[in-house]
Protein backbone atom coordinates (compact mmCIF):
# COMPACT_ATOMS: atom_id res chain seq x y z
CA UNK A 1 0.00 0.00 0.00
CA UNK A 2 1.50 3.29 -1.06
CA UNK A 3 1.63 6.35 1.15
CA UNK A 4 -1.17 8.14 -0.75
CA UNK A 5 -3.54 5.19 -0.40
CA UNK A 6 -2.76 4.98 3.28
CA UNK A 7 -3.49 8.70 3.76
CA UNK A 8 -6.79 8.39 1.87
CA UNK A 9 -7.75 5.36 3.96
CA UNK A 10 -7.04 7.14 7.23
CA UNK A 11 -8.90 10.28 6.10
CA UNK A 12 -11.94 8.32 4.98
CA UNK A 13 -12.19 6.37 8.23
CA UNK A 14 -11.76 9.55 10.26
CA UNK A 15 -14.56 11.22 8.25
CA UNK A 16 -16.90 8.22 8.53
CA UNK A 17 -16.36 7.71 12.25
CA UNK A 18 -16.75 11.40 13.10
CA UNK A 19 -19.84 11.52 10.88
CA UNK A 20 -21.30 8.60 12.81
CA UNK A 21 -20.52 10.41 16.06
CA UNK A 22 -22.38 13.49 14.79
CA UNK A 23 -25.35 11.35 13.71
CA UNK A 24 -25.54 9.73 17.15
CA UNK A 25 -25.22 13.11 18.87
CA UNK A 26 -28.06 14.44 16.72
CA UNK A 27 -30.25 11.43 17.52
CA UNK A 28 -29.61 11.69 21.26
CA UNK A 29 -30.35 15.42 21.12
CA UNK A 30 -33.58 14.72 19.24
CA UNK A 31 -34.75 12.56 22.11
CA UNK A 32 -33.33 14.42 25.08
CA UNK A 33 -34.02 18.08 24.31
CA UNK A 34 -37.10 19.37 26.09
CA UNK A 35 -38.85 21.38 23.40
CA UNK A 36 -39.63 21.39 19.69
CA UNK A 37 -37.65 24.59 19.17
CA UNK A 38 -34.57 23.15 20.85
CA UNK A 39 -34.90 19.87 18.96
CA UNK A 40 -34.51 21.81 15.71
CA UNK A 41 -30.87 22.43 16.65
CA UNK A 42 -30.17 18.75 17.34
CA UNK A 43 -31.74 17.71 14.04
CA UNK A 44 -29.67 20.20 12.06
CA UNK A 45 -26.47 18.72 13.54
CA UNK A 46 -27.22 15.32 12.05
CA UNK A 47 -28.66 16.81 8.85
CA UNK A 48 -25.62 18.90 7.95
CA UNK A 49 -22.40 17.89 9.71
CA UNK A 50 -23.03 14.16 10.03
CA UNK A 51 -24.38 13.84 6.49
CA UNK A 52 -21.47 15.76 4.89
CA UNK A 53 -18.81 13.79 6.78
CA UNK A 54 -20.38 10.40 5.98
CA UNK A 55 -20.76 11.20 2.27
CA UNK A 56 -17.17 12.51 2.17
CA UNK A 57 -15.84 9.35 3.80
CA UNK A 58 -17.77 7.11 1.40
CA UNK A 59 -16.49 9.18 -1.58
CA UNK A 60 -12.90 8.68 -0.41
CA UNK A 61 -13.54 4.94 -0.06
CA UNK A 62 -15.08 4.60 -3.54
CA UNK A 63 -12.34 6.42 -5.45
CA UNK A 64 -12.95 7.96 -8.87
CA UNK A 65 -15.94 5.96 -10.10
CA UNK A 66 -19.59 6.43 -11.00
CA UNK A 67 -20.40 5.68 -7.37
CA UNK A 68 -18.59 8.84 -6.31
CA UNK A 69 -20.67 10.88 -8.75
CA UNK A 70 -23.88 9.44 -7.31
CA UNK A 71 -22.66 10.08 -3.77
CA UNK A 72 -21.84 13.69 -4.61
CA UNK A 73 -25.30 14.10 -6.18
CA UNK A 74 -26.92 12.74 -3.00
CA UNK A 75 -24.70 15.04 -0.93
CA UNK A 76 -25.60 18.16 -2.91
CA UNK A 77 -29.30 17.28 -2.83
CA UNK A 78 -29.35 16.63 0.91
CA UNK A 79 -27.25 19.74 1.51
CA UNK A 80 -29.90 21.87 -0.22
CA UNK A 81 -33.08 20.14 0.94
CA UNK A 82 -32.19 19.37 4.56
CA UNK A 83 -32.01 22.98 5.79
CA UNK A 84 -34.92 23.90 3.51
CA UNK A 85 -37.16 21.24 5.04
CA UNK A 86 -36.09 22.18 8.57
CA UNK A 87 -36.81 25.83 7.84
CA UNK A 88 -40.19 24.90 6.38
CA UNK A 89 -41.10 22.95 9.51
CA UNK A 90 -40.00 25.80 11.79
CA UNK A 91 -41.83 28.40 9.69
CA UNK A 92 -45.01 26.32 9.59
CA UNK A 93 -44.90 25.93 13.36
CA UNK A 94 -44.32 29.69 13.79
CA UNK A 95 -47.15 30.65 11.41
CA UNK A 96 -49.59 28.23 13.00
CA UNK A 97 -49.19 30.09 16.29
CA UNK A 98 -47.17 27.42 18.10
CA UNK A 99 -44.58 29.76 19.60
CA UNK A 100 -41.62 29.27 21.93
CA UNK A 101 -42.38 29.86 25.58
CA UNK A 102 -42.29 33.53 26.51
CA UNK A 103 -42.53 34.90 22.96
CA UNK A 104 -45.55 36.91 21.87
CA UNK A 105 -47.06 36.59 18.44
CA UNK A 106 -45.58 39.36 16.25
CA UNK A 107 -48.64 40.74 14.47
CA UNK A 108 -50.25 44.12 13.89
CA UNK A 109 -53.18 43.37 16.18
CA UNK A 110 -51.08 42.78 19.27
CA UNK A 111 -48.96 45.84 18.48
CA UNK A 112 -52.05 48.05 18.31
CA UNK A 113 -53.40 46.49 21.47
CA UNK A 114 -50.14 47.06 23.33
CA UNK A 115 -49.90 50.70 22.21
CA UNK A 116 -53.49 51.28 23.30
CA UNK A 117 -52.81 49.62 26.62
CA UNK A 118 -49.66 51.69 27.19
CA UNK A 119 -51.57 54.86 26.26
CA UNK A 120 -54.28 53.97 28.71
CA UNK A 121 -51.65 53.32 31.36
CA UNK A 122 -49.96 56.69 30.75
CA UNK A 123 -53.33 58.43 30.92
CA UNK A 124 -54.05 56.70 34.21
CA UNK A 125 -50.62 57.62 35.54
CA UNK A 126 -51.15 61.26 34.56
CA UNK A 127 -54.51 61.22 36.28
CA UNK A 128 -52.97 59.72 39.40
CA UNK A 129 -50.17 62.29 39.35
CA UNK A 130 -52.67 65.10 38.90
CA UNK A 131 -54.77 63.87 41.81
CA UNK A 132 -51.63 63.50 43.94
CA UNK A 133 -50.47 67.01 43.14
CA UNK A 134 -53.96 68.30 43.89
CA UNK A 135 -53.91 66.48 47.18
CA UNK A 136 -50.51 67.97 47.99
CA UNK A 137 -51.75 71.45 47.14
Amino acid sequence: MSALEWIIEVLSWAAILSGCAFMLIGAIGTVRFPDFWTRLHAVSVSDSAGMILLILGMCLQAGLTLITVKLILIGIFLFITGPTATHAVANAAMVSGFLPEGLKRPSIKTKKATTKATKAKTVKKKAVKASKSKGAA
Binding site: W13, I16, L17, G19, C20, A21, M23, L24, G26, A27, I28, T30, V31, F36, R39, L40, V43, S46, D47, G50, M51, L54, I55, M58, Q61, A62, I67, K70, L71, L73, I74, F77, L78, T81, G82, T84, A85, T86, A88, V89, A90, A92, A93, V95, S96, G97, F98
Partner: protein, 107 residues
Protein backbone atom coordinates in the same frame (compact mmCIF):
# COMPACT_ATOMS: atom_id res chain seq x y z
CA UNK B 1 -15.46 -0.26 9.97
CA UNK B 2 -18.53 0.08 7.77
CA UNK B 3 -20.15 -2.30 10.25
CA UNK B 4 -19.60 0.26 13.01
CA UNK B 5 -21.08 3.00 10.82
CA UNK B 6 -24.08 0.81 10.00
CA UNK B 7 -24.71 0.01 13.65
CA UNK B 8 -24.37 3.67 14.66
CA UNK B 9 -26.82 4.77 11.96
CA UNK B 10 -29.24 1.99 12.92
CA UNK B 11 -29.17 2.99 16.58
CA UNK B 12 -29.72 6.61 15.56
CA UNK B 13 -32.68 5.59 13.40
CA UNK B 14 -34.28 3.69 16.29
CA UNK B 15 -33.78 6.65 18.65
CA UNK B 16 -35.29 9.12 16.17
CA UNK B 17 -38.17 6.70 15.57
CA UNK B 18 -38.81 6.64 19.32
CA UNK B 19 -39.04 10.43 19.26
CA UNK B 20 -41.36 10.22 16.24
CA UNK B 21 -43.64 7.93 18.23
CA UNK B 22 -43.48 9.82 21.51
CA UNK B 23 -43.24 13.41 20.24
CA UNK B 24 -46.07 15.37 21.83
CA UNK B 25 -46.49 18.00 19.12
CA UNK B 26 -47.36 17.70 15.45
CA UNK B 27 -44.37 19.65 14.20
CA UNK B 28 -42.00 17.65 16.38
CA UNK B 29 -43.28 14.51 14.69
CA UNK B 30 -42.84 15.98 11.20
CA UNK B 31 -39.31 17.07 12.10
CA UNK B 32 -38.46 13.60 13.42
CA UNK B 33 -39.90 12.02 10.25
CA UNK B 34 -37.72 14.25 8.08
CA UNK B 35 -34.65 13.43 10.16
CA UNK B 36 -35.49 9.72 9.94
CA UNK B 37 -35.53 10.05 6.14
CA UNK B 38 -32.02 11.53 6.15
CA UNK B 39 -30.82 8.67 8.38
CA UNK B 40 -32.39 6.17 6.01
CA UNK B 41 -30.66 7.65 2.95
CA UNK B 42 -27.25 7.43 4.63
CA UNK B 43 -28.07 3.96 5.98
CA UNK B 44 -28.82 2.66 2.48
CA UNK B 45 -25.53 4.08 1.21
CA UNK B 46 -23.45 2.63 4.04
CA UNK B 47 -25.23 -0.74 3.75
CA UNK B 48 -24.24 -0.91 0.08
CA UNK B 49 -20.59 -0.33 1.01
CA UNK B 50 -20.86 -2.94 3.78
CA UNK B 51 -22.02 -5.55 1.26
CA UNK B 52 -19.21 -4.42 -1.11
CA UNK B 53 -21.87 -3.83 -3.72
CA UNK B 54 -22.73 -0.11 -3.64
CA UNK B 55 -25.46 -0.27 -6.27
CA UNK B 56 -28.22 0.92 -3.96
CA UNK B 57 -27.22 4.57 -4.25
CA UNK B 58 -29.91 5.20 -6.87
CA UNK B 59 -32.48 4.06 -4.31
CA UNK B 60 -30.90 6.38 -1.74
CA UNK B 61 -31.12 9.33 -4.17
CA UNK B 62 -34.76 8.55 -4.91
CA UNK B 63 -35.49 8.22 -1.19
CA UNK B 64 -33.95 11.64 -0.56
CA UNK B 65 -36.18 13.19 -3.24
CA UNK B 66 -39.34 11.51 -1.93
CA UNK B 67 -38.47 12.41 1.67
CA UNK B 68 -38.21 16.12 0.88
CA UNK B 69 -41.37 16.18 -1.22
CA UNK B 70 -43.24 14.20 1.45
CA UNK B 71 -42.22 16.55 4.25
CA UNK B 72 -43.31 19.59 2.26
CA UNK B 73 -46.59 17.86 1.32
CA UNK B 74 -47.40 17.01 4.93
CA UNK B 75 -46.63 20.57 6.02
CA UNK B 76 -48.81 21.94 3.22
CA UNK B 77 -51.64 19.62 4.24
CA UNK B 78 -51.59 20.81 7.82
CA UNK B 79 -51.40 24.45 6.69
CA UNK B 80 -54.23 24.45 4.13
CA UNK B 81 -56.02 21.16 5.02
CA UNK B 82 -55.71 20.18 1.36
CA UNK B 83 -52.79 19.05 -0.78
CA UNK B 84 -53.78 20.02 -4.29
CA UNK B 85 -55.93 23.12 -4.69
CA UNK B 86 -55.13 26.07 -2.44
CA UNK B 87 -57.14 28.68 -4.33
CA UNK B 88 -58.89 31.33 -2.19
CA UNK B 89 -62.29 29.62 -1.97
CA UNK B 90 -60.64 26.57 -0.42
CA UNK B 91 -58.56 28.51 2.06
CA UNK B 92 -61.10 28.38 4.90
CA UNK B 93 -58.72 27.18 7.57
CA UNK B 94 -55.80 29.41 6.68
CA UNK B 95 -57.52 32.67 7.54
CA UNK B 96 -58.89 31.38 10.83
CA UNK B 97 -55.98 30.24 12.94
CA UNK B 98 -58.25 28.84 15.63
CA UNK B 99 -57.00 27.23 18.79
CA UNK B 100 -53.97 24.98 18.59
CA UNK B 101 -55.79 22.14 20.34
CA UNK B 102 -58.63 22.22 17.82
CA UNK B 103 -56.21 21.92 14.93
CA UNK B 104 -54.40 18.98 16.48
CA UNK B 105 -51.10 20.83 16.77
CA UNK B 106 -50.50 20.09 20.43
CA UNK B 107 -51.26 16.37 20.06
Amino acid sequence: MFLAATIALFVGMIIVLARLYAGPTLYGRILAGNSFGTYTVLFIGVLGFLNERPDFLDIALLYALINFAGTIAVLKYFRYRTVGDTSPQNKGVKNSPGKLKDRGVLG
